[in-house]
């Protein structure tokens, strides 16, 4: 008897045009964040022009800000702050939330009850409010911002993972694995996780949008990334007086934020049906 090798599995995905455009936008911003130092025209902190709130020009693609710094360069560097902080926070929140959620579903019982109750406490505090409290207590250094994002967003990851995992846990193939004598960890990793990975990824995408909006909001209030550094939210804040001049300095960072958030939201809205069915 010969043992044949597994044939290549055909993955049939119908990608809608709108999803493709959104994916390009998201990739664009990821590339910008990754290669920011190569893309800037001037050091982001340098005052390069005497003309504050200057218009778009050949030297200063997006004009200058309230101190005469190059907005294009500051936007590029700001991308790094916004995406970087949000991404690290998301990863930490996801690691904690998904692990705890799987544990709660696999073990159940008192462990699940106590954990869920405790984590529900955090859900009782609105996001931005909790962020304010943490920043008030710890200041607005970047580690504190990342910590705040983690603390604010891991309960959501936990609840989503747990509810998905509990649904899968009730299915017969889990009972079959338990009856076989499999341990909790095998069941968590090999039986449950592969069935909920798709929806969890989509959920993390939506959470990433919430994180960048929260982080920018915090910076907009002056409580996020501190001068002289600036993320997209802080860029809007420091140039607020530019409103009366109709300066691009106020509008451009907002548009950057909106384009990224919208692209992610639309991308997830246009995922293949099979993944979306599981999302509900």
């Amino acid at each position: 008897m010969t043992v044949s090798t597994a044939p290549r599995r055909k993955i049939r995905f119908q990608i809608r045009p709108i999803a493709a455009v959104c994916l390009l936008v998201v990739l664009f911003w990821i590339v910008v964040a990754l290669f920011a130092p190569l893309l800037v025209h001037y050091p982001a902190g340098d005052m390069v022009s005497y003309d504050y709130f200057g218009p778009m020009s050949k030297e200063y693609w997006l004009g200058t800000d309230y101190l005469g710094r190059d907005i294009y360069s500051r936007l590029i560097v700001g991308t790094r702050y916004t995406i970087g902080i949000a991404f690290v926070g998301l990863i930490l929140a996801a690691l904690i939330g998904i692990t705890l959620g799987l544990l709660a579903a696999a073990f159940g019982g008192v462990f699940d009850t106590i954990l869920s109750r405790a984590i529900d406490t955090f859900v009782g505090i609105p996001n931005l409010l909790l962020a304010l409290v943490i920043v008030a207590g710890g200041g607005s250094s970047i580690p504190i911002l990342i910590g705040a994002i983690t603390v604010i967003f891991f309960p959501g990851c936990y609840r989503f993972t747990r509810s998905m995992a509990v649904n899968v846990n009730a299915l017969d193939f889990i009972s079959a694995a338990r009856a076989r004598g499999e341990g909790h960890f095998y069941i968590m990793i090999h039986e449950i996780l592969p069935n909920i990975a798709g929806p969890i990824m989509a959920d993390l995408g939506l959470r990433f949008v919430h994180i960048i909006l929260l982080l920018s909001g915090l910076s907009f209030l002056g409580l996020g990334v501190q001068p002289p550094n600036a993320d997209w939210g802080a860029l809007v804040r420091e140039n607020m007086i530019g409103i009366s001049y109709g300066s691009p300095a106020v509008v451009v960072p907002s548009l950057a934020l909106a384009s990224l958030a919208l692209a992610i939201n639309l991308l997830i809205d246009n995922l293949p049906q099979r993944v979306r069915d599981q999302l509900e």
Partner: protein
């Protein structure tokens, strides 16, 4: 059976009180225990350590945190909200001055958002797949993606700077007439409505859509029911719980919106007070404001849960 409903409602209330207690623990210990020294902060960086420790003593910051927590809780319960060292006034009077303004703003927003968002969500579900539905869904997903400060700044640029129709700031003098007040409210309320209605539209539409694929709605259709009868008569009564839940969830977003909007428009509300408190690290003020906000939020969530319990026919 009514006993069971009462038991469940009692359970929800107990959970809400327990949550509020845990929230108070979280708020107190986050603000007190994270690195960052209040005394140092108040006196500025250039102060001697002796001066700082002396101030700590006068503020009572040298005593164990757990003791101060119980003093704080006792104070909250008896109406003694502490003393703001930054503005040199009792927190209670600061809050009393600002709270009504924030409540007005939130109430006006909710009065507009809830009926507007729910009817848009329900009509989108009735005419699912129509141009109306697609337009509403597209607008909703855009609004979900746009930060409130962006909507606010764009509105200011357009309506105040370019058209000069509305005031850019919402500071209302006490002597102002109705016209001025209304004008001052238009932009903050619009931003809040935009910010909080999108999520509610999406969730209520999804809740109805879920109910629309159930066999009992199909049965109604096979009895000859029209689309609106299927939605209003059959899907909606079974979607009360998720819809009410979506309203409660949107309130978290509304609070975030209020914080941003009060700052952008310099609106004299509690959220602006708290943001200023965070910048100056005015802990007693921050703690009190947090508890007030969380208290209101928990009341709304609990109310939503109770409505959901009451809407379940199996408990009637």
């Amino acid at each position: 059976m009514n006993k069971r409903i009462l038991e469940m409602i009692g359970g929800r209330l107990a959970v809400a009180i327990l949550s509020l207690f845990l929230v108070s623990l979280a708020v107190f210990f986050i603000t007190e225990l994270l690195p960052g020294d209040t005394a140092q902060e108040l006196l500025g960086q250039a102060v001697t350590t002796e001066a700082a420790s002396q101030l700590r003593e006068t503020l009572g910051l040298d005593r164990p945190a757990i003791l101060r927590y119980f003093e704080w809780i006792f104070g909250l319960l008896t109406g003694d909200l502490g003393y703001s060292h930054v503005s040199d006034r009792p927190v209670a009077s600061l809050v009393a001055e600002r709270l009504p303004n924030s409540l007005t703003l939130a109430a006006v927003t909710m009065a507009i958002t809830i009926p507007l968002a729910l009817s848009l969500g329900i009509f989108a579900a009735i005419w699912k797949g129509s141009i109306f539905d697609r337009a509403i869904s597209s607008v909703a997903i855009m609004l979900v993606s746009f930060p409130e400060f962006m909507i606010a700044t764009l509105l200011v640029m357009w309506l105040s700077v370019y058209l000069q129709w509305l005031p850019a700031l919402s500071f209302i003098p006490t002597t102002a007439d109705l016209h001025t007040v209304v004008l001052a409210y238009i932009m903050p309320v619009s931003v809040l409505v935009f910010g909080s209605c999108s999520q509610m539209i999406r969730l209520s539409r999804a809740a109805i859509a879920d109910a629309m694929v159930t066999p009992y709605v199909e049965m109604a259709m096979l009895k000859g029911a029209s689309r609106s009868r299927m939605v209003l008569g059959h899907a909606l009564p079974n979607s009360v719980a998720p819809i009410v839940n979506s309203v409660a969830l949107s309130m978290s977003g509304l609070l975030g919106g209020v914080i941003i909007v009060e700052t952008v428009f310099n609106y004299p509300g509690l959220a602006k007070l708290m943001v200023d408190g965070v910048s100056t690290r005015d802990m007693p003020l921050i703690q009190t404001c947090s508890m007030i906000f969380c208290g209101f939020y928990l009341v709304l969530i609990t109310a939503a849960d109770i409505i959901a319990i009451l809407s379940n026919p199996r408990l009637r």
